[in-house]
């Protein structure tokens, strides 16, 4: 009954999305206010019904209704209730339902928070989002219905959720990632709406910015959670593997990062307009591509779960329609959206241009490395894989360039910066950052390596430039504190995100250069010394969890400076679990985390005679990677709350129908320029 209700609600949501895709847009063409006015109620209705549908699926999981195929394949009566809920998005069908729920949620949010926007603009945006929703509803109803029954012979118990997914990280990672992926549909819908209207000015960019920032922050959190999960759950102790699935989420992030910077130029200076639109289309297209790569099973990847050709063909066709259609529209209409302003080669515009070039080149490199094996396979060039060396070969130098240019770029003024003032900006960071980098390594007692010196110097360079920028922009006749309080959330967002990049870079540099990793054979009672720590393998005991049996190792950790009978400062208990429903083995590493180092122990396998293969890792500064990622996401969130984005602009919203195409931005001097002029 619940399953049928959920299915029915899904069909109703599809019908409403269909109406939402057609009626408001037709209204803007036929100039009928009544039709245009349907956009908001239809989005609300669509959200309500897809939410009912989702609630039904959650209920089915909680009730252990194994007559539903999807529940039977992904749950088990022994599973704790929180994993039953998260199992809803543990596989293909349910994750699609989550996807459309989130899409409906973003659509609703646009409908609610767009009161100040012109009605026809809202109608176009919501129509475009309705079209995307229609595609996904069709996909679900035709190929991936989560409510399908297994009748007349339902299994007694379910097959269980993949043990890798039975983890707190995987409860929140997919929703966050999807919030990001789907959130880019808002920027995409705004871009398509601008192209349909043939009108794009700084007001457009100002509306789009908070939505893009929000989506980008969610995506950042999603990627960071995925990396964190891989670190402690996969049992390899790595945090990024250049796995195609990871790349699939990194690509929209790179495009989104380029987009939020390009949007800044479009808003403040009215430049890069076509490019901004193209990036908005690109970011969402890459989100769809990511879904295609992950969900169609085309990848040779540790993440590849499903393989069903009809689904792949559908997503590919959908991808073709969305990307092809929007690019066609772009080709036809973008000529109406030019810009006439110019800028000097030493200006913030030029800095952001460089940022965009570097990000897009990085994106192209990741895209090529990810798709090349697929293309080669299709063309019969043999089965190949592209390994981490390829990605690192490019990513490391490009990332360094990006960080170095980020430091200077964010300090530059709009339009033109004089060479003399630039030199005075450069002095301090150029001298101090390499000295600090050397000092840091020497004080920590690590060898001086070229790679770590470069990485640290770049990170410190960026931090110093950023701090110097705060110092300059906060100078004010009313005093330093008054000056600081005059800086806007948009500015603080940028500062926090850029410092986050520096923290991330420090984490990556130090972890990859100074980690001590040992894979060893240990018998109980044996000790091993790694990087100043002494690990004593005490015992292995059997413990029972709700749906698994585990061999639990016990490792007492001492610092090597301790004398023989000192108390251990911590005991790590890694587990080797066997899940009862499937018989799958799982490694649960145990980690003693800290700001400056992680102690990581994972059990490998029993080798007989009481011996185990064991991974013992000491990883310095690895937490800084996720700390940095959180700061980056936080920066995006802070920027969303800039009041400027919610300012009603009378002149631009009043002139909708007269459509002034190449209007120069006439708004008041932007906060950043004003602040830097004061200094």
């Amino acid at each position: 009954m619940v399953a049928e209700l959920g299915h029915f609600a899904l069909i109703l949501a599809f019908c409403l999305a269909f109406a939402q895709a057609l009626i408001p847009l037709a209204g803007t063409l036929a100039n009928k206010a009544l039709w245009i006015g349907t956009a908001r109620p239809l989005s609300c209705g669509q959200f309500v019904f897809v939410a009912i549908s989702f609630a039904c699926l959650v209920t089915l999981f909680l009730q252990d209704d194994f007559s539903v195929a999807y529940v039977a394949n992904n749950s088990n009566s022994l599973l704790p209730y929180y994993y039953k809920v998260s199992a809803v998005w543990g596989a293909h069908e349910g994750s699609l339902l989550l996807w459309v729920l989130i899409l409906a949620g973003w659509t609703l949010a646009v409908a609610i928070f767009s009161r100040t926007l012109p009605a026809d603009m809202v109608a176009r945006v919501l129509s475009v989002m309705g079209m995307i929703a229609v595609g996904f509803y069709l996909f679900m109803l035709l190929t991936s219905n989560p409510f399908e029954r297994l009748l007349p012979f339902p299994p007694v118990d379910g097959k269980d959720l993949n043990p890798l997914l039975q983890d707190i990280g995987l409860i929140i990672h997919p929703p966050m990632l999807y919030m990001g992926y789907v959130g880019f549909s808002v920027a995409f819908a705004f871009a398509v709406a601008a192209l349909l209207a043939g009108r794009m000015d700084s007001a457009w960019a100002r509306w789009t910015r908070p939505w893009t920032n929000a989506a980008w922050s969610f995506l950042t959190v999603g990627i960071f959670l995925g990396s964190w999960w891989a670190y402690y759950e996969l049992g390899w102790g790595g945090w990024w593997f250049w796995d195609p699935v990871e790349n699939a989420s990194l690509m929209p992030w790179l495009a989104g990062t380029a987009l939020i910077h390009s949007l800044a130029v479009s808003e403040k200076r009215g430049l890069f307009r076509s490019w901004t639109l193209l990036l908005a289309i690109l970011a969402f297209s890459l989100s769809l591509l990511g879904t295609f790569l992950v969900r169609s099973g085309v990848l040779t990847s540790v993440h590849a779960f499903a393989s069903d050709p009809t689904r792949g063909v559908f997503i590919l066709a959908f991808l073709g329609v969305v990307i092809g259609g929007s690019l066609l529209l772009f080709a036809l209409r973008s000529s109406t959206i030019g810009a006439k302003a110019s800028f000097g080669w030493l200006s913030r515009e030029a800095g952001i241009l460089l940022n965009n070039v570097l990000l897009v080149v990085t994106l192209a490199m990741v895209l090529l490395g990810t798709l090349y094996p697929l293309v080669a396979d299709v063309l019969g060039w043999g089965k190949i894989s592209v390994g981490p060396p390829y990605f690192n070969f490019f990513f490391v130098p490009l990332g360094l360039l990006l960080i170095l240019s980020m430091g200077i770029g964010a300090n530059l003024q709009w339009k033109r910066q004089s060479t003399g003032s630039l030199l005075s900006l450069l002095k301090a960071p150029v001298v101090i950052s390499p000295v600090l980098a050397v000092l840091w390594l020497v004080l920590a007692g690590w060898d001086l390596k070229v790679a770590s010196l470069l990485g640290l110097t770049a990170a410190l360079w960026l931090s110093l430039f950023t701090l110097q920028d705060i110092w300059q922009k906060s100078s004010y006749s009313g005093g330093r504190l008054a000056g600081l309080s005059r800086l806007k959330p948009g500015y603080w967002g940028m500062i926090v995100a850029h410092l986050g990049i520096a923290v991330l870079a420090i984490g990556i540099t130090l972890t990859s250069n100074y980690s001590d990793q040992r894979d060893v054979r240990l018998v109980t009672g044996e000790r091993i010394q790694v990087a100043g720590y002494d690990f004593l393998f005490q015992s292995v005991e059997q413990v029972r969890g709700p749906n698994y049996i585990a061999q639990q190792g016990s490792f007492a950790v001492f610092t090597t400076a301790d004398d023989a009978d000192a108390e251990p400062f911590t005991t790590l208990r890694p587990e080797k679990r066997r899940y009862l429903a499937t018989g799958n083995m799982m490694t649960e590493a145990d980690i003693d985390g800290g700001l400056f180092r992680d102690l990581y122990v994972a059990l490998g396998e029993p080798l007989g005679d009481g011996a185990w293969s064991v991974r013992v890792y000491v990883k310095p500064y690895i937490r800084w990677i996720w700390l940095g990622a959180m700061m980056i996401a936080l920066g995006g969130v802070i920027a969303v709350f800039d009041k400027r984005y919610r300012k009603v602009k009378v002149n631009s919203s009043a002139s909708v129908n007269s459509a002034p195409v190449n209007s120069e931005p006439k708004e008041s001097t932007p906060a950043l320029v004003r602040a830097s002029k004061d200094s």
């Binding site: 993949n162 890798l164 049992g235 169609s296 099973g297 085309v298 040779t300 540790v302 993440h303 590849a304 779960f305 393989s307 050709p309 792949g312 006439k340 110019s342 241009l353 070039v357 080149v361 192209a364 490199m365 090529l368 490395g369 090349y372 094996p373 043999g382 089965k383 190949i384 894989s385 592209v386 390994g387 060396p389 390829y390 070969f393 490019f394 894979d519 060893v520 054979r521 499937t582 799958n584 083995m585 799982m586 490694t587 490998g604 396998e605 080798l607 007989g608 005679d609 293969s613 991974r615």
Partner: protein, 167 residues
């Protein structure tokens, strides 16, 4: 030239130069860093290069896994149904590594015909077989089917692990 046009031209030149540089570097790096996949049959036929990084894979032969008693060294055989290949690995085998299950190894083939693996991947869960292995098994099966039904089977292939046309 007008300044605006000059600027646009400069941007275009800049982008073209960067793009050319990038394409060159990309193709160079790709050529250096792609790992071709070979089946045990191809290795046996001498088609695989020695001392170059490649990937091999197949089903792990039952009772072939042997471990050293004082280190993490282990050896095992993989098969695609026709030929077998000896793999040497020093490290911790993945959770789902098991005999009669699929495994893919990245490493280099020595002159002695032993494959030294730096990394071993096993199947990810119950239902998933790496596409390469599925393909290799299928190829071997096809060959066998052609080579007259009279020949006795060398290795038993578990029907559950046979490829279901990966895509």
């Amino acid at each position: 030239m007008k300044p605006a046009r000059k600027q646009r031209l400069l941007i275009v030149v800049f982008i073209v130069v960067i793009a050319a540089l990038v394409v060159g570097l990309l193709s160079y790096a790709l050529r250096e860093n792609i790992n071709l996949f070979y089946t045990p049959s191809q290795v046996a036929a001498g088609e695989a290069p020695t001392n170059a990084q490649i990937r091999v894979g197949g089903m792990v032969v039952v009772d072939s896994l042997q471990r050293a008693s004082d280190s993490l060294d282990s050896t095992f055989l993989v098969t695609d149904g026709t030929a077998t290949l000896l793999i040497h690995y020093s490290g911790i085998l993945p959770d789902l590594f098991a005999e009669d299950e699929a495994a893919v190894a990245t490493g280099a083939l020595g002159d002695d015909g032993v494959f030294v693996a730096q990394q071993v991947l096993a199947k990810h869960d119950e239902e998933y077989t790496p596409p390469e292995v599925a393909d290799a098994m299928q190829q071997a099966k096809d060959k066998k089917a052609k080579a007259a039904s009279a020949t006795t089977k060398q290795t038993d292939i578990n029907p559950e692990n046979t490829p279901k046309a990966a895509y």
